[in-house]
Point group: C2
Chain length 305, copies 2
């Protein structure tokens, strides 16, 4: 019989936990849980004899991996997986997965919420603008952007996209891919960023791109701060006094933005895009299903290492 | 030649003003403007010899109407028209119109923005909920509610409605009309209020209705404060510690709500639902078109007196 560990410093909500248990026990596995633990030693002893584990933001380093004498797979219920030493896991033959797309709707709803909040002058009572009729530029076209697209279209926005890796997905729904990132930023009233902090994307929102923005453009960033060259954005916001920046990822220069651009900058107090009951529950359920698919059929679709 | 006066203490935006002038001059009328005036005497002298006038929040009382020796029609560019003495205008044979529906999308976008803001715990960083999958109850089904419906459906919400006067419009799009207001409130995760402060609607959101709410319900009010029995809402928010109230209409007991229900109550600093460039521009354009339709063809579709 396979032994599955659910190790969560911050446990799943009861309803989510129940779903996860149901999926795993139905598959005939024995389920162990380690919740609210405060010391790595607890995790180290819990992983012994375990075949698969589900974690959340829990740190899985070399020491934990060395203690796991039987581990085949770790699934991070969520998108980011920098809490896992993926390289060392690979060395040890342990598959690492995340649960992509499960929080996409949560992040997309926040992006739309921030867009309304921004165009309506942060609910200050000042006259604002409507989303209807405006052009939304999607920088990237992954799971989150696709949800933003669905909602934005109903809001009566014209949607365009710049994507390197999802051209087919965009074309399949008739969405226009601009020729360059410059063109995307030039044609957009609202830009929503949906690329990861990897490779060419790092610092990609830089002066040559930003200078194309129209004078009243609104930038929404629910992705990663590393995508933006903050010095360049600060410079553009000086040069174009109508440009606004609203973000769910705390900028390195948050204080500068807040001081210099009152009413034009907003940052959530804590990254919260994926923080919904639904996203957590979906991710937990997906993690359990991915473990079953891996153990029963060797399915590695969501492998990240 | 007909003389048209645009009397606006708070002028239209330049682009809106240009559109209005174009419509009226194309119809062969002579257009006069009185902007940024500070004294009623200016309005009194401006209305002399005028056939039709467009106003915004400008006060048109008996004195102004008596001075208007030639006036056939007043169009209030906007929804509310309590700034006009409609009865006296009717006595004097002056038609009063508003421009219904022109700000509907603006208000609807704010209602959706407030719903996201509310379910995401006012962007506090705390874990929230998604709109997708929840049931939205529309209390009333006028122009604003119809726009909310369009957006909410794309957000993946289940939408239900309780309407007395728009049953056909709701049925035409397959929208379920509940049997009672109680049923609407009982079945909704989010209720959005879209009825005017008239007749049966005044105080209609009262204890017998509110006690039906589920424990995590969110109420959005972008309509009028008089629709809600505030004492009853205060009582329910004591009894059901998950119920939230977000409003664009300042409650009479605002301080009480704010003090007692931190994190569960939000009121915009100033009614701003209709305050968008687009709504103002649409309303001005509609006002000009309604004047032409009235003067040329006697069209009184939007008459309110």
């Amino acid at each position: 019989m396979k032994n599955i560990l659910i190790a969560t410093e911050k446990p799943f909500a009861p309803a989510a936990s129940e779903k996860i248990h149901k999926i795993l026990t139905k598959a005939g596995y024995k389920v162990f849980t380690l919740e609210n633990y405060t010391n790595k030693s607890e995790l180290i002893s819990a992983v012994q004899g375990i075949d698969a584990m589900i974690i959340r933001s829990d740190k899985v380093d070399r020491e934990v991996l060395d203690a796991a004498d039987h581990l085949g797979i770790i699934v991070r219920a969520g998108a980011g997986y920098d809490n896992v030493d993926c390289d060392y896991a690979r060395e040890k033959g342990v598959v690492v997965m995340n649960t992509p797309g499960q929080n996409a709707n949560a992040v997309a709803e926040l992006a739309i919420g921030l867009a309304i909040y921004g165009l309506r002058e942060m609910f200050s009572g000042k006259s604002g603008r409507e989303l209807r009729g405006q052009t939304l530029g999607l920088h990237g076209f992954g799971y989150v952007a696709r949800n933003v697209f669905r909602i934005a279209r109903a809001l009566g926005m014209k949607v365009i996209v710049y994507t390197r890796y999802s051209k087919e997905a965009a074309a399949a729904i008739g969405l226009k891919n601009t020729h360059s990132l410059e063109e995307l930023y030039r044609k957009s009233d609202v830009v929503s960023i949906h690329v990861p902090a990897k490779g060419v994307h790092i610092g990609s929102v830089s002066y040559p791109i930003l200078k194309e923005l129209n004078d009243n453009a609104l930038i929404i960033n629910t992705a990663r701060k590393e995508v933006i060259n903050e010095e360049d954005l600060l410079r553009i916001m000086e040069e174009k006094p109508g440009v606004k920046y609203l973000t769910d990822v705390e900028p390195t220069h948050k204080t500068l933005f807040a001081e210099k651009f009152k009413g034009r900058f907003y940052s959530t107090p804590k990254k919260m895009g994926a923080q919904t009951e639904e996203a957590n529950s979906n991710a937990g359920k997906a993690a359990a299903e991915q473990i079953v698919a891996f153990l029963e059929h060797g399915d590695i679709s969501c492998k990240v290492n």
